[in-house]
């Protein structure tokens, strides 16, 4: 689980021109965790104490000179190193006040970067690819510097533990410079068909291997693992890569973005659009690569420069006119936290989005316009549109634009909008049949949430069959699509609600109670799951028969669609017998079937209790009557618990009786119509308790019998036959 905390501005950014590529030359770590060296594009180097947002020292170059590479702190010598005018290396200490008096050395080639690793000598990377140790270089500043790169190659990005650069024309190459022994490896970076450029590189060293993350302009993040001790091969090798993330990109093209690896599973990105945010907003996102989920996001105002640094738990990102420091935290991620957080972010995202396109107006517009108008929605729904991969029929495309990105490893599917329900159904079927198993969950989850949000925004739109179909795949759960069940209730689609209750393992108690309330209140019958209904019919039939036979009282089986009943009031007044088991079913079979589903949901009593209190007194009485009915039935007829059929267990029934009584005890005591019910319940329970006592006694006596059986030595005398071999 990763989180971004409230950020603060460290300093302003003075970018020379509005179109400048970078806001800062660099932010480098200083000796302490709390200190950074900020080199701006102009002429100054400043050391900040981050927590105090206070500069500790600042150095400026003279007019006419300029800094060409970020100043670094050399922990070996305790000095700062910077380069001015590409060729002059300057070294100074804290107590030097101006650059003028400091040490300087002029080298005979342009310096690209100075690179200071934590506990080693700074390394100087020249613009043409040569690498020197700083002290070796300073011994003979005028030593000749070889040219590694060809003319058209330019260093684009440098990582801490590897020098990476690529040529500009056709291909990108990764150069890996190792020290001890010095060697340079050249790898070719694949660009794929889309001719995507690598935008940002990030390398981490773990377990003797270099993990290289490379963000392409197509929004794909690839990981390459290079062994530190690999055999040295000459020539150019193709860099092996695996796709980690495929991020939604607006135009299939990112301009400037940066990626920083935070820990093994998490990475921070800037310049990549938030999957559910509207265009034109820039976000700093933390993604989990293990689960491919967005862990945290923070909106950044102003322009993004595609620069991002991370030192000791803080992210440094220049945007707009400021360098902002955002502390973050990455906990060890698990599937549950990853999923849970994703949901939260989605809802956050929805708050951000307000653009809702009116479907009806769009109907009459032509396709191009409609596409334009739908831009906002598209973005929000993380659409990527790649025309060459759209497999839908042209007829459909007239009204809908469904865009697939059929990438070999991961299929992302997005629905922009449908107009006809039939189309939705057909398309979803097509998608479901065409999607391989590992991707099904992702696809179904997205589909479901998209459909639900669509339904919520458009009251006329309700694809019952499609939703039921999605639930049937068992790939949807409540936390993946939190609004589905509530939507079903809202639409009074109780068969879908039943399906959800059956298939979702993670329904919150609040939602369970909402369902219970809705079920108790009214019931527009629909096609419920047949097994559950037949189970209830069987039970009611038993009830009917028994009633007729035993007491001469035949309860009227309530009409299926009539919602509730107060039948028991007619019954058993003044009857002396303490056990009246002929209670008729207080609700219709279909309602009963739905209530059974409620009884079978997983819940925790203490969480359930506050929500149960929301039930009205009438609802409680009805519910209790039903529970009592079930209980009596189970008591009468053990076979009521038919094997194979989904039916609540006695324990579940008892649990609900307890919870309901617990939540509404005072109300029930005061309520005159609940009196009979409570008395009967008490009588019955009392008799059961007596029975249990007796059963306990029997069990006690029979236990010894069991013991006897175990020891065959009980007999004093026996004649038996043994065989020896």
């Amino acid at each position: 689980m990763a989180a971004l905390f409230e950020g603060f501005t460290l300093c302003g950014v003075v970018s020379g021109s509005a179109r400048a590529e970078a806001a800062l030359l660099g932010v480098e770590a200083e000796r302490e965790e709390d200190r950074v060296v900020v080199t701006d594009c102009g002429r100054s180097v400043t050391v900040y104490k981050v927590s105090d947002q206070k500069p500790l020292g600042s150095w400026h170059v003279r007019q006419g000179q300029s800094l060409t590479c970020p100043a670094v702190w050399s922990s070996r010598s305790g000095e700062y190193v910077a380069v001015t005018d590409s060729r002059v290396i300057r070294i100074w200490k804290d107590d030097d006040t101006t650059f003028e008096k400091t040490f300087k050395a002029t080298v005979c080639a342009d310096v690209a970067r100075i690179h200071a690793a934590a506990d080693s000598e700074p390394v100087v990377l020249f613009a043409r690819g040569a690498v020197r140790m700083l002290d070796a270089l300073l011994e003979a500043p005028q030593q000749p510097i070889e040219e590694v790169l060809s003319e058209e190659e330019v260093i684009r990005s440098v990582c801490r533990c590897a020098q990476c650069f690529y040529s500009c024309k056709e291909d990108c190459y990764l150069y890996l410079q190792r020290f001890n022994p010095n060697s340079l490896h050249k790898y070719k970076l694949e660009t794929g068909e889309s001719r995507a450029r690598p935008l940002s590189l990030c390398a981490t060293v773990r377990n003797q291997s270099i993990k290289l993350l490379c963000l392409y302009s197509s929004g794909c993040l690839y990981q390459s693992v290079l062994s530190m001790r690999g055999t040295i091969q000459d020539g150019v090798q193709l860099l092996p890569r695996t796709l980690l993330l495929r991020l939604p990109v607006e135009d299939g093209h990112l301009s400037s973005a940066s990626v920083v690896s935070l820990d093994e599973g998490n990475l921070a990105m800037v310049g990549v659009p938030h999957p559910s945010a509207s265009a034109g907003k820039e976000f700093l996102c933390i993604w989990n690569t293990n689960f491919q989920t967005l862990q945290a996001a923070k909106e950044l105002t102003g322009r993004i420069y595609g620069q991002l640094w991370s030192y000791s738990g803080r992210l440094y990102v220049p945007h707009g006119k400021a360098l902002t420091v955002i502390p973050y935290e990455c906990e060890r991620s698990s599937l549950a936290t990853a999923l849970g957080r994703l949901q939260q972010d989605r809802s956050d995202g929805e708050q951000l989005v307000t653009t809702v396109v009116s479907w009806n107006t769009l109907l009459h517009e032509d396709t191009i316009q409609h596409q334009k108008g739908a831009r906002g929605v598209e973005t929000r729904q993380s659409v990527r549109h790649r025309g060459n991969n759209v497999p839908l029929a042209p007829m459909l495309r007239k009204f809908t634009v469904v865009s697939f990105t059929a990438v070999p490893s991961l299929l992302l599917l997005l629905i922009i909008r449908y107009i006809f329900l039939s189309c939705v159904t057909r398309d979803v079927e097509m998608i479901l049949s065409g999607t391989a198993d590992p991707e099904l969950q992702l696809v179904v989850g997205r589909l479901a949430s998209q459909l639900v949000s669509r339904c919520q925004s458009d009251s006329a739109f309700y694809p019952h069959h499609t939703l039921a179909q999605l639930v049937h795949t068992r790939c949807v759960c409540h936390s993946l699509c939190p609004n589905l069940l509530m939507l079903a209730l809202e639409k009074k689609d109780y068969s879908l609600a039943q399906l959800c209750l059956q298939h979702f393992p993670d329904i919150p108690e609040a939602v369970t109670c909402a369902c219970l309330k809705a079920f108790l209140d009214d019931l527009q019958t629909e096609n419920l799951e047949p097994d559950s209904v037949s189970f209830m019919e069987g039970m009611v039939a038993v009830c009917k028969r028994d009633g007729a036979l035993e007491n001469g009282f035949s309860p009227v089986l309530l009409e299926e669609d009539s919602c509730d009943v107060n039948a028991p009031t007619t019954r058993a007044k003044g009857k002396a017998d303490w056990l009246v088991l002929d209670m008729p079913c207080p609700v219709g079979v279909k309602k009963a079937a739905l209530l059974n589903e409620i009884l079978q949901t997983a819940h925790t009593d203490s969480f359930l209790l506050p929500h149960l209190k929301d039930l009205t007194a009438q609802q409680v009485v009805l519910f209790l009557q039903y529970l009592q009915f079930l209980y009596l039935k189970y008591y009468q007829d053990i076979s009521a618990q038919a094997p194979g059929l989904r039916s609540p267990t006695v324990t579940q029934i008892m649990d609900w009786v307890c919870s309901t009584l617990d939540a509404h005890f005072t109300v029930l005591v005061m309520l005159p119509e609940a009196r009979d019910l409570l008395f009967q319940l008490h009588k019955f329970v009392r008799s059961q308790v007596r029975l249990i006592c007796e059963l306990g006694k029997i069990q006690g006596s029979l236990q010894d019998l069991h013991k006897l059986k175990q020891t065959e030595d009980a007999d004093l005398y026996s004649i038996e036959v043994i065989e020896l071999f």
């Binding site: 030595d713 004649i719 038996e720 036959v721 020896l724």
Partner: protein, 677 residues
Amino acid sequence: MGEFKVHRVRFFGYMPSGIRCMSFNERAERLALGRLDGTLEIFNFKDSFYQEKVIPGNDSRSVEAVCWVAERLFTAGLNGEITEYDLENLCPKYSLDAFGGPIWTVACNAQGTHLAVGCEDGSIKLFEILPEKIRFERNLDRQKGRVLSLSWHESGTRIAAGMLDMIRIFDVQSGHATHRMLVDRGVSGMRNHECVVWCVAFLSDLTVISTDSSGKVQVWNAAMGILSSTHLVSKSDVLSLAVSKDESSFVVGTSEGTVVQFQFLANILGGDEKAWVRTKTFKPHTHDVRALAEIGTAVVSGGLDTQLVVRPLLDKVDIMSYDNVLHKIHFPHRSLVSCAQKAGMLLFQFPAQLEVWRLGESEGRGEFCLGTREKWIPFQGEDHISCSAISPCGGWLAYSTVSSLRVYRLQCDEHVSISKVPKLPKVLRSAHQLSFSDDSSKLFAASTHSMVHVISLSQSECKHLHTFKPKSGSTEPVHLLAASKDGKWLAAANRGCEIHIYNLHKLKPHCTVPIYGSCPTAMGIHPTSNNLLMVHADRQIFEYSIVEKQYTDWSRRVQREGLHKLWLERDTPVTHVTFNPRNAAQFMLHDTYMFCIIDQSLPLPDNKCQFYNQITLKSLSEQERLSHAHAFKMCTKYQHLLFLGLLDDESLVVVQRPLTDIASQLPAPVRLKKFAT
């Protein structure tokens, strides 16, 4: 190999008596054990903890304390008498009334010159030990309250006496009490109860250790008469105490069944200042631990739950071997059951009664029928039965106490009638072992001085035929007798490990089997080959050809190849040998936890092969079995075996006494361990 019909008998209600006291003789490595019914048992710790001698108890005699004086054994009891025992004839030698009421304790000084006894009336009496008897010397100053425990200082000049609520130190010369050390009564609820000092031990550095009824173990300085330290080890009584010979550790036993060890250890590692520290706690028993001995490498404990436990102290053990593992001795190492093979009757020997049972007959397999208890024979007199036998035909029955020997005639019809045989020959006064010949015509009675009397039995009279005396002149009691089936040979083994073979036809000694260092525990003469088969306490098996007067080839092979390790490590001695009439090469042995059939025609198991291989063999086919079979066919199905015999119809009789049955007859323990308490 074959099937056996087994009469599985569990109706022998044998109940061992609780252990009251014990004393270990360091020099002879023998442990004398006194039981609540007055029985004295002597275990030879050198010889696989074999129960060497049993002196049957007497109703009028109780054993409250037992004490070795060199090789002599003294006991004192609540009848007020001090008794010395004749260990060769296994009977009391003489008893001497101390005239002080019940005696609670007896202690001998280190020099072996005096016995001190503590009496109910508060007196401590000193007896001088003379070569053949003891003589009252004098009383120490009489105190109020009984004397429950005594301990001599090694100098022999002081005695510590544990009494009610106090410990007194006496000066032996003057007879005066020099110190009086009051013992705290313990927790408030117990204030009204006297604190009984159950045990005291006087160490050579003038430290006195006491254990008492309020659960305390206290260490006193007897020179100053002050308390050094108190250790609360139990909520109930601490009943027994034993100090190791080097006085570096002691153990105490509580009524909860635990044994706690204390060691005299330096406070700091390598420091000089030492203190008694509680180190280990065992729970070898379920009931009171009444008797304890610390014997160098092990703690021996016994108590009301009747078992004798030898628990090794692993910190004092250098090499793990058979002698240093936990031993529990539940049953006597002699047979209390005899079987009339031809009549299918069993004779059970109890301390004060005999029971004759007739085994049921079954038509088919697995049919259950109850054996019938035909007779139980109570007898007059206070002495307990030392041995008994029933003749193979079931017509005669004989038993002996230390003072008398009786022979009965049994008539087996519908009902069994019993009649005492009058006018027995005068030589038959008592016997250590009784046996009948195979045709039931002769009774062999092993008597004093290793003599064996031969009595001919007939309807009309009983006639003394002959008395065999061992050539060696040994006086050790005979504990095993075996007669050959053809009536020609009689073998008698005595506790001195000698086995003499007598010719019954010529009435002359035939030969003596070469003496083996371990006591024979079971023997039998083969019905056809007349080879004598012997099993010793160390579980070695020998076969001796009586005719050729030499060990047989098989016996030599066994000695050459050695027995299997697992056989040698078995815990209990073999107590009975029978021969399989179906197969002359097979004989059966049993100990408490198994019986086995040994097939002399099969190869002996070596240490590499699987010893308990019955289950493996069962799973193999006939052909494969042959290649896997070895001579020892072990059957561990029947546990807690007291007897295994073979009837004439070739069915086996197995007499079991499950330990749970014994435990169920014990009184409730003081404290039961409950889960999570």
